[in-house]
Symmetry: D2
Subunit: 275 residues, 4 copies
């Protein structure tokens, strides 16, 4: 399956302002790209890309005063398979986890593991460890939290979501991530492209999506407390402890978002021949 | 100058429990060690040491049920010089920072940069950038916050410290770190040994200390909002975004602290000859 | 001046649910009414009105399953004068305040006086006491906080507003109320009708408004950190410690708001002759 | 049974400072007093006592610069009966509650009913309404929260207690009160004298105590999530929405507590003859 990916984002920047972006496909998917995954910038200086400590491809640059446009259009090959489901996958005791996974057990800005430890134990401590326990967390969050764009709030933490039960995509994942960590299951926040392939077309404009990954058995697996069903066509861009680590754009000064569109559409093969 | 370093920590562990510790001298000071910096563990399996993503030396192991004792005694050479003071050191624009410093601009568990951005700007936005602005932050925190061990609270964030104005060592540093980040100055939390050399002997038992580091000009510099004066004999153990990253011991299950002593004393040369 | 007041509010109530409403004009304005201020309820049992401990006129009733409609249309005489401005009005030392005012010095759900005491002192402790200090608080809040309906959040406290600087009407008042109390100036939250008389017509649908009252010299005075200018035509409905006390409708069970319109329009005399 | 009640409290007051105290036995127990319940004040002006909106006896005065001593010693008759237990007592639907009870359903400073509504419903929504449901709340709080004076924190709310599970007397009651309100059961915070009669003598110095009252059937009943067993010899001083309303002393300016002792001891009849 081929998927067309892209975005077109415009900021007003009253004064020159440095940016860091995570707008590239994750290194783990680079081999699937059929076209250049190029971050086009209307105008910038000091442009530099690098890997952050989580292995994400970041680009940093200085945007001039005026307007900044970030755009891209690329094509990726995807298996077309839904997210794997592996009920046999076991939780790994902390002493056997790969050391890279350990940081994903700790508290972070939006995931107050320390505050939610008792709550998670009460809700899920009695569920048998392994894949199905993570699935139980997803199920619980999915059922208890109501989605709505009007609930978007950049300061909302997992505990806030737990108490007020409303949120956007990232809020669902933050709550589920925190629950998992509190159960000593490494969990990390993921962000990327996710279209409507195989599901009813969403009535709202396409956006980047958040999901999360959990370390079970011998690898990271995608879970999604917002959708709570295997989906086709996730294209990972970045992972981190929570949304604070993987903001798609971070500006270090004033930048007002003026336009924001995301594309992630299946492309039929004969169409692809012409792209 | 020679400094005797060490600790003796005992936990009750009702059941086997995995631990991660950051109880070793930081790699940047390893060349100063005159004796082995060995983490002695009463009993453990699956012992392994590694560097985390911040470059700290972590050790992970599984403690058996019963009691766990962690101890160490080592000797380090120190310049005997107080923390450097460099009023000429400039803030570096985000686009020129080394990429490793960028993560220290973001929000973390105890440092809600997003929530304190306006506050920091109102308080310090008018101060000329550079060393003296960081010093102004330290001065403000030092004057406004009252120290007391009875205020220790592992859930206290920088904003909490800003509102209630009481805290322990780490709280001072979290607030200062957050202010600096909100001003686009990379700041990281540091923990290590710090004795009473050159200052009145503290009436309370020795403990590990927290301070913070700020990136100015071309390097990281130690600042200390708790003491707010150059000190002699800091021995760094770990740096991270905040106390969540560099807890000296993290247990993934129940572990009750029973005893805790820290040693960090100047050793006279003739004494050292016999150690 | 005559003002037409009214509302039309519809809830879906899947099961019978008790309600408490504060939808009547405050007792202090009853003598100005030219028509009955009648809360019309589509259907209810156990209807009873009473004064709460703040002196507000509350009505309690049991709404049946199905739909609940609350409506009213009445006519009130207003002086047509803008809010009084009294720069000579002094703050009253706590020991001389009327005892009824003392509760308005304490912390409440949305007004964490305890947490904001240092902040208020730092910002306004140096301003000369009296009317102008309260005005300085209003000015500060008005300038620092950005209004937007999208920021409505029923859990937002004064401290939240102080940190994130976005909010709706009630958020402005909560912050100003908290600052005043922290300065030992009694301040209470007020809610009622406020139209567009004498100001540009608002582009958004009419709503009930929040403002606040401060005790200075020998009486309560209206202040409004949202609008920050004297307005014509405030009609008080209720006062309390904060929005928690004076919610216009409180349901003790599920009730989904379906429609909400408020009327508060100046009526010309010759029109009034026919109403 | 006779109980000796009293206190001796000393504040340092660097400058004159107004105080409000709730240091008198509640009006509902005044008929049981055998001696004058006199608040002795070392020195004060503008002394005045009054009932607040909750019916508590408050005293307000201006303390001079220097030192303030508040003391009292009185004698009260008590039934000697433990707190009543009434498993037959029913919850009253909101539409049938006495109107005075309705305010005790709302959120307050330390009791965020809005934030804990879902949590309370999940934990206790399935328990049959009535006395035993309130008892289940007490039981839960009593079991889940660990007592310790070192956890005293004047800013700790019910939600904080729910997450961190440590606290002092008032924290237990705040959490239980909030749970009850979230279940539409009126609950109010109570403070007063409570000695060791009939229980093992506490190893810590006597203090004032907090408990809470719940409206069931046709009256308010004492519950105590801290002790969670019927106790003998409660002497009520004040009720309110939470600890913010019924602080035993509130100073409107600096006042440093220097000494604090409370007496509440059973007096044998032959001793009483001589007091």
């Amino acid at each position: 399956m081929l998927i067309r990916l892209g975005y077109d984002i415009i900021f007003d920047t009253p004064a020159p302002v440095p940016f860091v972006t995570l707008l590239k496909v994750h290194i783990s998917r680079v081999n699937d790209l059929l076209q250049l995954d190029e971050l086009k910038i209307s105008s910038a200086t000091h442009f530099e890309c690098y890997f952050d400590s989580f292995g994400n491809t970041c680009c940093r640059f200085l945007a001039p005063a005026g307007q900044l446009r970030l755009s891209n259009s690329t094509l990726i090959h995807d298996s077309g398979e839904p997210d794997p489901v592996a009920p046999w996958a076991r939780e790994i005791p902390v002493q056997h986890l790969p050391k890279e996974a350990l940081q994903y057990l700790l508290s972070s800005r939006y995931c107050e593991v320390d505050k939610m430890s008792n709550i998670a134990t009460e809700l899920f401590g009695g569920v048998a460890p392994g894949w199905n326990r993570v699935q139980a967390v997803c199920q619980w969050v999915h059922e208890k939290v109501t989605f709505g764009y009007q609930y978007a709030n950049a300061q909302k933490t997992a505990l806030d979501v737990f108490t007020n039960r409303f949120g956007v995509c990232r809020d669902f994942q933050h709550l589920a991530v925190t629950m998992c960590r509190a159960l000593n299951i490494p969990a990390r926040y993921a962000t990327g492209y996710l279209g409507d392939i195989g599901v009813p077309v969403s009535p709202v404009p396409m956006d980047f999506s958040a999901w999360f990954e959990v370390y079970l058995e011998d690898r990271w697996w995608a879970f999604d407390a917002r959708n709570n069903q295997p989906r086709i066509g996730r294209v990972l861009m970045a992972v981190g402890r929570d949304a604070s680590d993987v903001a798609l754009t971070t500006s270090f000064g004033m930048a007002n978002l003026r336009q924001f569109t995301v594309v992630t559409d299946e492309v039929l093969q004969h169409e692809a021949a012409h792209v």
